[in-house]
Amino acid sequence: MSTSAPSTPHASGLSPGGEAAERGSSLGHDAWLRLRQNKLAVFGACTLLVVALACSLGPLLSPYGYEETRLELGASAPGLRHWLGTDVLGRDLLVRMLYGGRISLAVGLSATVVALTIGVVYGAVAGFFGGKLDAALMRAVDILYSLPFTIFVILLMVFFGRNIILLFVAIGAVEWLTMARIVRGQVMSIKQMEFVEAAHALGFGRRRILFRHILPNVLGPIIVYTTLTIPSVMLLEAFLSFLGLGVQPPMSSWGVLIKDGAEKMEEFPWLLLFPGTVFSLTLFSLNFLGDGLRDALDVRSSKD
């Protein structure tokens, strides 16, 4: 465990019953104050907000369509008419980046939701019921951890068509393992607390205790690791798209744009630079926001 524990709102916030609501909100308020102190996390959050807004609203404001080709223009350097230039088919790079961002963010969010759901339920069940069930479930996670999963995602994408729904599911099915481990560890420590015993004594069912009493107290770590899962999911999507196995044309994502840019970088470096920068900046922001949240919510980083 860490040597210095400044304040432990975690433990004090775990009071049962009616008091929880009021305490919970002040816990959230504390965390918010701490988060605001962290400049990098604030920078990350603002950047993400700008990127998300630009991707969702930007294409509506642009005079150019996303598929609109102007072959006579070709790849033109950034200028007044096309702020970030155009690609070899004369398509406006800015609009393509905003549309690509929609797909990248959508894949990031939905695959994370898949991973989150599997991981939380799996980890909570293992941690709550314990014993042989727990041993079997966690042994399975250990084995899965050692498998070369990226390879299976590639196989899936190659053989079952490069379908975007499959992409969500395949990526989500890979990324839930860490979440399961973390949730299990938390549930195991929380289920031994007195308020859980009290809930048992009151005669509540196990399902109710698990979902209404224990899981809300694991919310902190869940939020933190969700924030940190999104960038790794987006990275995997871009990785696949770069190999030509992810999002397929005419749809586009940041990974696709980076792939196209890398092919043409010798003559038209901006085609690689801009998508690469925006993608990296987004990952960077998500990582910082996740780290900031971890500090603000006082989640221990140890995974075991």
Binding site: I143, S146, P148, I151, L235, F242
Partner: protein, 306 residues
């Protein structure tokens, strides 16, 4: 200790068997065979081809045959490259990928450990911030962005290195640096965190009180405990370096196993895909096993848990 290794070994073998089976059946149940891509193959030739490769046998039979030859270390013939066996192709390509992987791992460890140690010892100074900055770049800028940018900067513009290929010793530099940098970042973070945690403990204070030099305190006493998280991370890191080589080998046009795997998957070269997956899985599991053993050896607490 022996019991620990045996149980891990059995677990790995079970996992390996599951991988072989899952991949085998996954490949057979997908639409399109290895010969559907070639246009207008007359039916009789197709039948001959299938008979030649044993594809006309019932599926369970094919499966058992495959397992049988696997036990003899035979991965079968390649579907795509006629008159080459999968064993030949793997033997041809694997050394290249292994070399790339080893160099990258070396870069990652050297850079990650030194940055992490400096950051922990000079906490909250510019050296710490620099290490954090490098770590963040390595964490947020993906290899497929850094890779092409490095080619642009160090090969095309300055001409220091060649943009692609795997002929000269200098050709190893850029790919290994790019791939290694991505894993140096988490290693430096883990080293910093692990060391900081250990440096506060009583036995370090004792070592200092005995008058041990700072270098001895850090390298002899603190690193052994502080490096445990790093050792634990080496399993996932090597797996990541192996799969990361798919992208690196594509960018730098390196004739290694990673690029071959992606191509063979596109070609539906069943036997080659299977062979590659099995080889990768076996490699990753062997490395994980090694990491587990080293970890247990370094930390009696882990050893006693199992």
């Amino acid at each position: 200790m022996l019991r620990f290794i045996t149980s891990r070994l059995l677990q790995s073998l079970l996992a390996l068997y599951l991988i072989v089976t899952a991949t085998f059946f996954m490949l057979r149940f997908v639409p399109g065979g290895p010969f559907t891509a070639e246009k207008a193959v007359p039916p009789e030739i197709l039948r001959n081809l299938e008979a030649h490769y044993g594809l006309n046998q019932p599926l369970p039979r094919q499966y058992l045959d495959y397992l049988g030859s696997l036990l003899h270390g035979d991965f079968g013939p390649s579907f795509k490259y006629s008159n080459r066996t999968v064993n030949e192709i793997l033997a041809d390509k694997l050394p290249v990928s292994l070399e790339l992987g080893l160099w990258s791992l070396g870069v990652a460890l050297l850079l990650g450990l030194s940055l992490g140690i400096i950051a922990a010892l000079r906490r909250n100074t510019w050296a710490d911030y620099l290490a954090t900055a490098v770590g963040t770049i390595g964490l947020s800028v993906p290899t497929f962005v850094i890779g092409p940018l490095c080619v642009l900067a160090f090969a095309i513009h300055t001409g220091w290195f060649s943009a692609s290929g795997w002929y000269l010793p200098a050709d190893r530099v850029l790919p290994s640096l790019v791939l290694g940098l991505a894993y140096a970042a988490p290693i430096s973070r883990l080293t910093r965190g692990g060391l900081l945690e250990v440096l506060h403990q009583d036995y370090i204070r004792t070592a200092r009180a005995k008058g041990a030099s700072e270098a001895r305190v850090v390298f002899k006493h603190a690193l052994r405990g502080g490096l445990l998280p790093v050792v634990a991370y080496l399993g996932p890191a090597t797996a990541g370096i192996l799969t990361g080589s798919f992208v690196i080998e594509t960018i730098f046009q390196i004739p290694g196993l990673g690029r071959e795997f992606v191509t063979s998957a596109f070609n539906r070269d069943y036997t080659l895909v299977l062979g590659t997956v099995i080889l990768y899985a076996a490699l990753i599991m062997a490395l994980n096993l090694l990491v587990d053993v080293v970890q247990a050896w370094m930390n009696p607490k882990v050893r006693l848990e199992t």
